[in-house]
Amino acid sequence: MAIQSSQLAIEQLKNLLREKEELNEVVTTKIEELIVELQGCHPHPIDPAQQIIDGFTYFKFNNFDKNPELYERLAKGQSPKFMVFACSDSRVSPSVILNFQPGEAFVVRNIANIVPAFNQLRYSGVGATIEYAITALKVKNILVIGHSRCGGISRLMSHPEDGSIPFDFIDDWVKIGLPAKTNVMKEYEGYDFKEQCNFCELESVNNSLVNLHTYPYVDREIRNKNLALLGGYYDFVNGEFKLWKYMSVVTKPITIPLKTNEGFKL
């Protein structure tokens, strides 16, 4: 029986590992990813049209037709209580992991669930969603959800130190998270790269929450106690969800007198 080319390639890999033992961990990860990817490959490619029709038919018969009052009300308007920022990652749809039904959450998804600071010249896409959610929909809660194994955060943490060629658009976008990266590199110096990425995934949510507060209408609604900012983190490796609040406090001022009866005190 002829030797398969894959067997030759595997022998080459084994030789490489014998020479360079330090590659062991990297190779393990890559092989595991490859196996999963190959398992996902179907002998007959899925027809995208059929997949969508199955999904829509299921939704129509099991959800839409069974809740006529709800959908009649939704057809007239939406009044979601939540606005959610989530990553575009296919594994973290907020409707799935937090069971949001139609009408419950106004959802914005982008790479690494980043919210840039208020900037009148750029990022009108994100600005428009916040403007609409607060002024038109009057949402009560904004939730920013980060997640484990985020590719966008991983890119933020590795570039440009790894010397890779820059992406036209991805790098320009994820660099909004640089304050989070700086904090993590300082506070968690010496931790291994994967752990640093985990910390950055969390820190980037906080960075986004702070950036949210820079929008004038967000600030106004927070002051009027009409709006809460929440942070979330979905860890799909361990099946956990972290949830926390963002709170900002302005204390009452104290008055420092110009001079006392005894004259200036130094």
Binding site: S90, R91, V96, A128, T129, V174, L202, V210, P216, E240
Partner: protein, 303 residues
């Protein structure tokens, strides 16, 4: 990181989109193709929580940690907090997902934890009524999703933005095979686009929907006999096609479509009548440079 002190508002937005949605009579009559009523649920089911009942998670919370975990943010434990019910609500939601979906499919989630291999990239509106996972049944791992106002795709020339960052990642790195742009009925963003006045007031919404101003021009030309609601419906569909054409302005997308490694589809979800239309961009038949027209194929309508 310093929390910004008081922020003045030099650009107090006077622009408020007009009322979000009214039921409208659509004068667009697509050709109807009836579909055999057969539901084959070969995909995983996810729990659909009825809007009037509360699901109490029966498992304890070994995996749920709730902590205020950033020492840069202030916490005031003694302040009366009416947000605790929100916390409980979100906790219930996650626990029901964990019990009914995550724990029910351990192997699938173990694989997903390592790598995602979605076949679709979906661009949908942020509208709370049109989540692609709900209406089209996308399961975890199937669709890389962008959601923005009015499901718009800006051109390559308009410069870096969150939409093209996601396009770059999904097409070049994840190598998805299909891009699907989904529009919908009663879209507030399209309504804002159609109702926009050139009155010198600026707002983010105006700046953003201006990305689709060609769709507005085409609509006003083609549908001037319709009332405002009718024009909005028409524009919702024109804007989807406009986004599909904008996708082709990205060289690496165009290249893959030419090589037939990538297909571009448009979809329209009408939640007043519960119907879904889908069509595919016919790249071979599209002659944009010649006459500005593009061709579609495989158009279907399900209701």
């Amino acid at each position: 990181m310093a929390i910004p002190s008081s922020i003045s508002d030099p650009f107090a937005s006077k622009f408020l989109p007009s009322s979000i949605s009214d039921p409208f009579a659509s004068s667009y009559q697509p050709s109807r193709i009836s579909v055999p009523v057969k539901i084959e649920q070969t995909q995983l089911t996810t729990l659909r929580r009825s809007h009037c009942s509360t699901l109490k998670a029966s498992m304890g919370s070994p995996g749920f940690t709730q902590q205020l975990n950033n020492n840069k943010l202030e916490t005031l434990a003694d302040v009366k907090d009416d947000r605790d019910d929100i916390f409980n609500d979100l906790k219930d939601r996650f626990l029901s997902f964990k019990k009914n979906v995550y724990m029910a499919n351990p192997e699938q989630f173990e694989n997903l934890a390592k790598v995602q291999v979605p076949k679709f990239m979906v661009i949908a509106c942020a509208d709370s009524r049109v989540c692609p996972s709900s209406i089209l049944g996308f399961q975890p791992g199937e669709a890389f999703t962008i959601r923005n106002i009015a499901n718009l795709v800006p051109t390559f020339e308009s410069g870096p933005s969150e939409v093209n960052a996601a396009l770059e990642f999904s097409v070049n790195t994840l190598q998805v095979e299909n891009i699907l742009v989904i529009g919908h009925s009663c879209c507030g963003g399209i309504r804002a686009l159609m109702g926009m006045e050139d009155d010198g007031n600026t707002s983010f919404i105006k700046s953003w929907v201006t990305n689709a101003k060609n769709a507005r021009v085409k609509t006003k030309a083609a549908a001037s006999n319709l009332d405002f609601d009718g024009q909005c419906s028409h524009c919702e569909k024109v804007s989807i096609n406009h986004s599909l054409v904008n996708l082709l302005t990205y060289p690496w997308i165009k290249e893959k479509v030419e090589k037939e490694e990538l297909s571009i589809h448009g979809g329209y979800y009408d939640f007043v009548n519960c119907s879904f239309e889908k069509w595919t961009l016919d790249y071979r038949g599209t002659k944009l440079e010649e006459n500005g027209r593009f061709a579609i194929k495989n158009k279907v309508f399900w209701y």
